[in-house]
Structure formats: structure tokens, C-alpha cells
């Protein structure tokens, strides 16, 4: 840790808020990596959680009644509330691995949005599992009811089957398939198990029934998550309408809690940023939301779950006494951190990946000096988020010339942070630019009730261009944001194939994530205050007024998503080490740390001289390489753009594809009706989506072709022509995929036919 090398990249998150992602449950670190947090809120909250876990375990063992708990967390923005939730979720996973967990952050006063994201966090797999266990429980009752024990003779199988279901709930589907149980009576008996089930649960009962349906399971999950579905799909699911209002969303919450209760499984629901449910709403809605939170607390308590609510101190003050009385203890207040702790915090971020990193000497916080840290402490007043923002900004400035971060730079950073651009500013600039181009736009648009987009040009009824300003991102956030854009691109291309997507990146995005995201976006602008207006105007003009739309990359999407998830996991791993180190650091005795600082000063003189010389040399070399890289990148980008435009406007290319389809058709290679329609659409409209298209064509052809001689004829020529065309445009992957596929399937070498 004592090698003072200038950090090669920004070590501090631009947006230091902790993010909690849906996959947390599956890859949370095990118990051994989690140290006990010394601050009272961590101890207190964990104590509540453990008390709940003890009771839950006793309940499982049949020793006590089911009882729930509600925990409150309060503190100003940036004080680490989400961090504490993250910690509690890990502890909960360790204590009760079978329990279900939901985390949701309120982003507005809209309860429907909250519900939708909560269900998405839970995921379709756990929902199916919950429903299966419920059916299994009902089936056990049915089997035992049908088979009273005192009438059993030797060998009666009903009770054996009921016992088997306790250990293997999935067997309920075998019993249904083998007609031991009646599906309709089992489904109708469900409501008897769900406490409080009334007729308004009907739609939910129907939709949940389809969670394991061969073709409708995804639709069922979409409906449950509050996504809008076509009328005919609603009919297939047997539901009367979408979950389109807050009342129905709240019924969805009720139903979910009734399910948890029905299967007698513990659950944790963490609702973060509850102030948004209150302050983002008009007074009448505010009261309604407060009432609903109150009801939620009661429902979760009665169902034996743990509900954790986190929000600002001001928001908690809004709640009446009888609400606070429902909590297991008064809301836990998040504290500020001390200067000594800031030293450790900065050391940890400067040495990611190193376990147990602590501040011992000033080299540990290089390129910051001690005075700078004290300045940060003075300005941030113990608020972790402010501390990290100041570190980020001051490092950003210092890194330009690889300078030391001094108190002066910290002060300048503080001023810049107050004036810094944020989403609102960028959106305002974007709107003004769009208007100056003579175009209309609509702000804040939601696709299918789920995916939000910042701006739509000209309006949502006929969108030509969708623009989103990305939140400042760092570490795992950038991969998560990229995943969101892949999903958004899919939603956009499904509804409006002609529409284009432009992302304005106001934060950090690494080259590896950018590269994977590029196929899904029509344009991607990294925000720079000086160049943004002109760059943005050019992009909007090009995309909204001309240019063909980029097709959705069908074949690659799953691969790209997988890669992004891997990046996300790698980032999360770094983040977990940092989190662990911070927690350890905050345990250290500040006095010890101070002694280490003083000890270091005796050695620092000689080291500083050596470092300065090395830095000057390194700086020169780095700058030269940076310049070369920039030039190279610009050239490559221009060439790629040119190549893409050429391909899109090449009529021959399109004609070749259309000819290929016709040839296949004339040879009687027309696949099934569905495949044929899809294939034709792809050929005629998405002709540049080569890889997916060619794979489909060849798959269909291979499925139909029995005689290789037929392929040798005109279809063979067409395939060869394709390969050549693909190679001409350097679409190597597509050409290779097609060639290999065709060769394997038909035993003909197209490579020789070039």
C-alpha cells in the first residue's frame, strides 16, 4: 500500500449512492466476509433482524406464533441509509436463506411504479416457486381431506402423496398431470388458503395460475408486474384489465403478502426513500400514501414478515404517533463520520481490491494530502455521500495534470459541485436544442407502463426519437444502466420499429460497457458542457429527420445481456470489498490511526523528492499516449459510421436479400406460417440485421431441405452471394455463422464457391 502510484482511473464514484440490485440474493457474500458494524444503527437494526429471525425459526419449529416486525431508518440524504439496507439484506440472507426478499426505492409518489419495481425485483422464478408451494399446500389438504386417516387401510396412497408434497412441492404438477388432483378444484381452493382473499383477488388468482403455462407464463409475469398487455392476452389470462391504477397495485401488494402468509414463508420487504411517496405528491395523495404505508405495516406484521422503511428525518416526522408505535423501535438514525474515519475511507477507495486497507501514512491517500482530507471533512460535515463527491470532483481536476489534491482543489471542487450540471440542466439544454431545430418533444414518457424515457420527439403517439439522459454512473451502476438500455431498446423496437434511441451520458461509462451497448443505440453522446449543444443538435437532426432506424439485434441480445451481467458481478465484487473495508475501517480506533499518521511524517521527506521526479516523467509519457489514442479512436469511429451508412443505403444489398427469400420460396422452402411471416418481415424490413436474419433463413431452410442437390442449385448460389456480400461489408461474424451452419447442415462447402 505504500507504493504511491497515480491512480490510473477515477477511484471515487461520481454518484456515491449505494445501489441495490435484484441479483443480490443470489450472490451476496457469505456471513464470514461481513464484519459487525460498530455504529448504533447497524447494531440496533441487526439486533431487530436477528430477533425476528429467531422467532421465525421458532415458528418453523412449531414453537411460537408467526409475528412480524417493522424497522425504520432515518437520516439526511447521503447518510448511508441504503447502505444499511444493503447490509441488512445480506444479514437476512445469512440468517434466513429461504426467506424471500424485496427491495424497492420509491422514485415518485406513484404506488403503481413502486409495486411494479418491487415485483420485478422479486423476479418471476421466486413468484413461480411461491405459487407452486401454495398449490402444493392446497393439494396436501385436498389429499388428506379426501383420505381421512382412520379409514385408511394398508397401502392407501393419498397420505403418502401428501407427505411427498411436503418435501417436493413441484410434484404437485405431476399429480395434476396424472389426474390425481383436479386442476380446477385445486385452483379454486387456493383462495381458501389466502387470508383476506375476496373477489377483488380474482384477476390475481387467474394471472398467477398462468405463471407456469407453456406459452403464457411470461405474459402472466408481465401482468403481475403491472405491464400493459394487449386485450387478447388479457382475455387469455382470464383477467379483466391491466394493473393500471394505484388501488389495484395496492391489491397486488396485498395479494403478494397473502401469498407469503399462505405458504408460511418468512419475507423481507425493504422500501427505501419513502419521502418520495410523501413529498412528491399533492396533499390528498400524500395522505392516501401514508395510509397505505400504515396498512402495509399491518399486513406485513400480521403475515409474519419483516418490513423495513427508510427515509429522511423530515419524512418520518410526517407520520402520526400511532404509525410509529407499530414499529419495533423508533426509527434508527444514521450518524455522520469523523475526520479520522474519512482518512480510512479515502484509503479504501484508492486501493480497491485490497482487503483490510487502512490509513497508515500519507502515501496511502496519494494523490490526496492530509490537509485536503481535513478540508473535505470540514466541507462535507461527516456526510459520506458529500465526502465521496468531493473526492471524485477534486481528483477529476487533479488528474488532468496528475497533480496532488490540495485543500485549494477541494474548495474549487466544492464550488463546482454546487454549480455542476445535473440531469435537469442537461434535459433543459436538450429541450431548448430540440425546439431550436423546429421539432416538438414530450418530457417524461413511460413505455408500456414500465420503461421510462426522458424525452420523446415529437410526441408519444408517433415517436421518431427517444432520448434518455443517463444518471451519473460508476462501478456496477454503469453495467446496470447498460442492461436497462438493452431492455429499453427492445421495448422501443417492439412498439415502434422506426423509432431511434439517443442516450446522453452524463456520468462514467467504460469502453467495455460502451462497446456492448453500441448495437442497441442509434447515437450515444458523452456529455461535455462545451460541445454538447452542437453535438446534440447534429445527432437529433440526423436521427429525427433522416436515417434508417437501427434494428434490434435479436440473436446477440441474450449474449450481450449475459456479458453485461458478468461485468456487473465483477463490479459488484469490487464494491463489496470496498464496503467490507469501509466497515472494518470504521471499527478502527481513531487514536491509533492518528499515531500512524504522525509516525509517517518522519519518513516522508525523501519519498516526496523521488516521487516528484517519477511523476514528471510519467506524466509526459501518459499524455503522449493519450493523444495518440484519441486520434486513433476518432478515425475508427468515423470509419465505422461511414461503413454503416453505406450498408444501410445499399440497394443491391437489400435486393440480394429479397432475392434470396424469393428463391427459397420458389424452391418450396417456405417454413411454417409463423416462421414464414417472421422471416419475410425480417428480410423485407430488417434486412441489415444480418446475423439474426441469416441464421433464421438457414435454420428454416435446413429444417425443410432434405436433398442437398436442391441446395446446390440456385439456393446454393444465393447463399454464396450472401457470404460474399457479408464479407464485402466485413460482417465477418454473419458470414462465418451462415457458412458454418450451411456447411454442417448440407455438407456443401460454400467457402470454395466464393
Amino acid at each position: 500500500m505504500n507504493l504511491a502510484v497515480y491512480p490510473p482511473r477515477q477511484p471515487f464514484p461520481k454518484n456515491p449512492a449505494v445501489s441495490i440490485r435484484a441479483q443480490l440474493s443470489s450472490d451476496a457474500p457469505d456471513q464470514s466476509t461481513l464484519a459487525t458494524y460498530p455504529f448504533p444503527p447497524y447494531d440496533d437494526a441487526e439486533r431487530e433482524l436477528q430477533s425476528y429471525a429467531r422467532l421465525a425459526k421458532a415458528d418453523d419449529a412449531g414453537g411460537s406464533d408467526r409475528i412480524g416486525t417493522t424497522i425504520g431508518i432515518k437520516g439526511p440524504p447521503g447518510s448511508g441509509k441504503t447502505h444499511l439496507i444493503y447490509y441488512l439484506m445480506q444479514r437476512a440472507r445469512a440468517e434466513l436463506p429461504q426467506a424471500y426478499q424485496i427491495y424497492v426505492k420509491a422514485e415518485s409518489s406513484d404506488l403503481l411504479d413502486l409495486y411494479s419495481r418491487a415485483l420485478q425485483f422479486l423476479g418471476s422464478g421466486p413468484l413461480r416457486e411461491i405459487h407452486t408451494v401454495l398449490l402444493s399446500n392446497v393439494a396436501q389438504r385436498e389429499l388428506v381431506r379426501q383420505d381421512p386417516g382412520n379409514e385408511l387401510k394398508f397401502g392407501g396412497v393419498s397420505q403418502s402423496l401428501a407427505r411427498h408434497l411436503i418435501v417436493e412441492p413441484n410434484a404437485v404438477y405431476n399429480l395434476l398431470q396424472n389426474r390425481v388432483l383436479s386442476e380446477s378444484s385445486l385452483l379454486s381452493a387456493r383462495s381458501g388458503v389466502l387470508e383476506g382473499a375476496r373477489s377483488y383477488f380474482d384477476d390475481f388468482l387467474h394471472a398467477y395460475s398462468y405463471l407456469l403455462h407453456e406459452t403464457l407464463s411470461d405474459h402472466a409475469f408481465d401482468w403481475i408486474c403491472g405491464r400493459k398487455l394487449p386485450f387478447e392476452v388479457l382475455q387469455q389470462l382470464g383477467v379483466r384489465r391491466d394493473i393500471a391504477d394505484e388501488e389495484m397495485a395496492f391489491t397486488g401488494f396485498r395479494f403478494l403478502i397473502a401469498l407469503f402468509s399462505g405458504i408460511k414463508r418468512q419475507f423481507f420487504v425493504f422500501i427505501d426513500q419513502i419521502e418520495r411517496l410523501i413529498y412528491d405528491a399533492e396533499p390528498p395523495v400524500r395522505e392516501v400514501n401514508k395510509g397505505r404505508l400504515h396498512t402495509l405495516v399491518e399486513l406485513a406484521n400480521n403475515a409474519g414478515g419483516l418490513l423495513c422503511l427508510a427515509g429522511t428525518t423530515k419524512a418520518w416526522d410526517e407520520f402520526p404517533g400511532d404509525f410509529l408505535e407499530r414499529l419495533s423501535a423508533p426509527p434508527f438514525k444514521m450518524p455522520n463520520i469523523t475526520t479520522e474515519q474519512i482518512f480510512n475511507l479515502v484509503t479504501i477507495y484508492l486501493h480497491p481490491g485490497q482487503m483490510n486497507s487502512r490509513y497508515h501514512a500519507e502515501t496511502d491517500i496519494y494523490p490526496f494530502n492530509e490537509a485536503a482530507i481535513r478540508e473535505i471533512s470540514k466541507i462535507a460535515r461527516g456526510n459520506i455521500r458529500s465526502i465521496l463527491s468531493l473526492c471524485n470532483r477534486s481528483f477529476e481536476e487533479a488528474a488532468k495534470q496528475q497533480e496532488l489534491v490540495t485543500p485549494k482543489l477541494v474548495q474549487e471542487a466544492a464550488i463546482q459541485l454546487k454549480q455542476r450540471f445535473d440531469r435537469t440542466d442537461i434535459l433543459m439544454q436538450a429541450k431548448m436544442t430540440i425546439k431550436s431545430l423546429g421539432l416538438d418533444c414530450t418530457q417524461e414518457f413511460t413505455i408500456d407502463g414500465n420503461t421510462r424515457v426522458d424525452l420523446v420527439v415529437p410526441d408519444p403517439s408517433d415517436p421518431r426519437l427517444l432520448i434518455d439522459v443517463s444518471e451519473p454512473n460508476f462501478l456496477e451502476d454503469e453495467a446496470r444502466a447498460a442492461l436497462r438500455y438493452v431492455s429499453m431498446a427492445h421495448a422501443v423496437k417492439t412498439r415502434w420499429p422506426e423509432a431511434k434511441i439517443l442516450i446522453v451520458e452524463a456520468g462514467y461509462m467504460s469502453a467495455e460497457v460502451q462497446g456492448r451497448l453500441r448495437p442497441y443505440l442509434d447515437a450515444h453522446i458523452v456529455y461535455n458542457p462545451d460541445e454538447f449543444p452542437s453535438e446534440f443538435a447534429a445527432a437529433v437532426e440526423f436521427l429525427a429527420k433522416g436515417s434508417d432506424p437501427r434494428p434490434e439485434s435479436r440473436v446477440e441480445t441474450k449474449v450481450i445481456e449475459q456479458q453485461l451481467r458478468q461485468i456487473l458481478e465483477a463490479r459488484a465484487s469490487d464494491q463489496q470489498i470496498i464496503t467490507y473495508n469501509i466497515r472494518q475501517a470504521l471499527q478502527d480506533d481513531p487514536k491509533m490511526t492518528r499515531n500512524r499518521i504522525l509516525d509517517f511524517y518522519s519518513k516522508i521527506g525523501l519519498m516526496l523528492v523521488s516521487l516528484t521526479v517519477i511523476m514528471v516523467v510519467l506524466f509526459g509519457i501518459t499524455q503522449w499516449f493519450q493523444y495518440q489514442r484519441n486520434q486513433e479512436g476518432l478515425t475508427q469511429r468515423r470509419e465505422a459510421l461511414q461503413m454503416t451508412q453505406n450498408l444501410w443505403s445499399d440497394k443491391d444489398f437489400k435486393a440480394t436479400l429479397v432475392d434470396f427469400y424469393k428463391t427459397a420460396d420458389s424452391l418450396g422452402l417456405k417454413p411454417s406460417a409463423d416462421q414464414g411471416t417472421r422471416l419475410k418481415d425480417q428480410l423485407l424490413n430488417d434486412y441489415y440485421n444480418l446475423q439474426g436474419l441469416l441464421l433464421n433463413v438457414v435454420q428454416c431452410a435446413v429444417a425443410k431441405i432434405c436433398d442437398p442437390h436442391v441446395v446446390c442449385g440456385s439456393l446454393g448460389q444465393e447463399i454464396s452471394s450472401f457470404v460474399r456480400t457479408a464479407q464485402r461489408y466485413e460482417l465477418v461474424d454473419s458470414a462465418d455463422v451462415l457458412t458454418s451452419f450451411a456447411e454442417d447442415a448440407c455438407g456443401i462447402s460454400f467457402r470454395h464457391a466464393k
Partner: protein
């Protein structure tokens, strides 16, 4: 040992649970499959009524629409009952203008019956499926809609065969009537039978009834429904009772108790062997299936599994004579094993 040799050990001419028993029964006058129908519970009680009702069909107005509701759990023989009704109606209609007994074609029911499996709650999708299957049925029986009415074919292709969407009911109503007209113009004496299998809700029955009734002025049509949905059963039965749907019949099918399963095994064994005892322990069967009621198909499939597993044991046994009787423990274990299997035997 071969299967035949193994079966001979029990004096069996054939496997007592294989063959037509594994699927829904489809009777024809050319064979004796009618005898295989087990006259049990609801079906047994309703059989005289079914015969009388089907016979009465020949006396009704030639252009009408008959409705049949067969209700009970899956596996209780609903499809077999529907096949029997179709067979009896066909026989009644064929003998209407003939003084001598009529022998129907071997595949008469299979050729005439349009099955519409229902897989979800949509009230309109079954109609689309009915048109698709009806069109295919016509094609198989030599009615080339493409040649007779190219426009109709083009529309069916666009809206039914190639479309994944579910259109408005009116679209399908029009196509259905035009298909019926094609059948009528052919001068065929065929009568279409539609079997909507496993209705999920009453709306599906209602939609089917409204569409099918449109055809009643053109040709005699029979519409059959199977369901286990209690609301649908209540509404349709009430409509039959109130004579809102004429002619109509509601047939309840119940599960069987363990003693009936024992009788069933005896019935099957008697069909295949002169020796009525067999290797199945009758008391053991009564025990295993005691305490609850079972769909007949579930019981038969489970016993099929047990007997087949027993034959497998014999195939590798050194001393066959010690295993001629099926032990109670083997029976019980095999039944549970079968009921927890992922896939039903013979399906």
C-alpha cells in the same frame, strides 16, 4: 422371454391395459369397442338417457344445432363419452332414411369430429382454433376450400392459419359460416361435430354457442363441451333444464371408488383371459386406492404401469414361478411411483 410368452404365463391373449384402453375410446359399428365402456357411476346411470337422446336426434328438425355438456374431472372418460355420443348420433342420422341397419365407416367419428382443445381463458381463441381444425378436417376429407372458394381460403390463411393475433369475433363468425356453406354446397351428407375440450369459463361456451347457432339454418351441427369448471356447469345445465338450448343434454361423469376399480380390473381381465383370477391382488388394489375417488383413466394408467413393471421384472427373473402374483408392497410402491411420474404412460 418375449411379451407374448410372458402374457401366456397368465393365460392372457393380450395385454389387459394396452391397446384401445390407453387412449380415449372411439366406438365404431365395425368393432366391439362399445363393450369396453365401463358402465360405472354417472356414465353408467346416464347411458340409457344418452341412447334415448341420440336416437331422438333423427326426429328433430333437419337444420338445427344440438348441444352436449359432459362434465367431470379430466380422466373420467369425457372424450370417450363424446366419441360415443358422436357415434350414436351418426348412427341415428344414417338410419333415418333407411329401413335396413346401417354400418358406419370404421373411422366415421374420427373423420367427423372437430376437436378444439382449450388451453387458456380466452373466449375467442377457441373459435379461431375451431375454424382452423374444421378447415383441416375438410381438407383431409377431400373438400378443397382453396379451389371452391379462393377468397375464403385467402382470408382463412391470413386471419387463421398464418395469424398469431386473435381477431374480433365477427371475423371468425363470417369465416365459419362460409366454411359451413362450402360443406353444404359440396352436397355432403356429413354433419360437423365440434368438441370444445376443457372449457375454462362460461364465456367460452357462450361464444361457441352464439357462433354455432348461426350455422343451424344451413346444416345440422352438434356442439359438445367438456369442462370441470363449476360455474360453467351450473349455467349450461340451467339452460338445458330451462330448455333455452334445444336439444341439449348434460352428462355428469364421476370418479371411481376402490371397489369399482377392482370391478374394472376384473372386467379388463375377463376380456383378455379365460382365467378370471390373474396376478393382480384384488384386495391389495382395494387398499391402495382406498379412501378417495379416482378418475378412471388415472386408475387404469396406474395399473397399466404396475403390470408393465411386473412384466419387466419377470423378463429378468431367474425363477418366474415365484413371481406370478403381484405382491402388495410392489403394487403400492409402483402406484406411487407412477402417480409422481412426470409423464403419463401411453400418452
Amino acid at each position: 422371454m418375449t411379451d407374448e410368452e410372458l402374457l401366456k404365463l397368465f393365460g392372457l391373449r393380450r395385454h389387459p391395459f394396452a391397446g384401445p384402453w390407453r387412449d380415449a375410446l372411439t366406438p365404431s359399428a365395425a368393432d366391439d369397442e362399445c363393450r369396453l365402456y365401463a358402465k360405472i357411476d354417472g356414465f353408467g346411470r346416464a347411458l340409457p338417457q344418452i341412447h334415448a337422446w341420440c336416437l331422438g336426434i333423427k326426429d328433430i328438425e333437419p337444420e338445427t344445432c344440438a348441444f352436449v355438456l359432459i362434465h367431470g374431472r379430466k380422466g373420467c372418460g369425457r372424450t370417450s363419452t363424446a366419441n360415443l355420443i358422436a357415434f350414436l348420433i351418426l348412427q341415428a342420422l344414417a338410419s333415418k332414411n333407411s329401413s335396413s341397419p346401417i354400418i358406419l365407416e370404421k373411422d366415421a367419428v374420427k373423420k367427423t369430429l372437430v376437436k378444439v382443445p382449450i388451453t387458456d381463458d380466452s373466449p375467442i381463441k377457441p373459435i379461431k382454433e375451431a375454424i382452423k381444425n374444421f378447415y383441416l378436417r375438410l381438407l383431409i376429407s377431400g373438400v378443397d376450400v382453396r379451389k371452391r372458394d379462393p377468397d375464403l381460403f385467402a382470408e382463412i390463411k391470413k386471419d387463421v392459419l398464418e395469424s398469431r393475433e386473435i381477431k374480433e369475433l365477427g371475423v371468425y363468425q363470417d369465416l365459419f359460416i362460409r366454411l359451413i356453406l362450402v360443406l353444404k354446397e359440396k352436397g355432403s351428407t356429413e354433419y360437423p361435430f365440434f368438441l370444445f375440450e376443457d372449457l375454462k369459463n362460461y364465456a367460452q361456451a357462450d361464444t361457441a354457442i352464439s357462433i354455432m347457432q348461426e350455422a343451424r339454418h344451413i346444416i345440422f351441427t352438434t356442439v359438445m363441451f367438456t369442462t370441470e369448471d363449476s360455474k360453467t356447469i351450473d349455467i349450461l345445465t340451467t339452460k338445458f333444464d330451462n330448455q333455452e338450448l334445444l336439444p341439449g343434454i348434460s352428462i355428469p361423469l364421476a370418479e371411481v371408488a376402490s371397489d369399482e376399480i377392482v370391478q374394472l380390473v376384473g372386467h379388463r381381465w375377463a376380456e383378455c383371459s379365460p382365467d378370471p383370477s390373474g396376478p393382480m391382488p384384488f384386495e391389495g388394489i382395494a387398499d391402495v386406492f382406498s379412501g378417495t375417488f379416482w378418475p378412471i383413466k388415472t386408475a387404469c394408467s396406474a395399473l397399466d404401469y404396475v403390470f408393465s413393471a411386473h412384466l419387466d421384472r419377470l423378463r429378468t427373473a431367474k425363477n418366474v414361478s415365484t413371481l406370478l402374483r403381484i405382491e402388495q408392497s410392489f403394487l403400492s410402491k409402483s402406484v406411487i411411483e407412477y402417480l409422481l411420474r412426470g409423464k403419463s404412460l401411453g400418452t
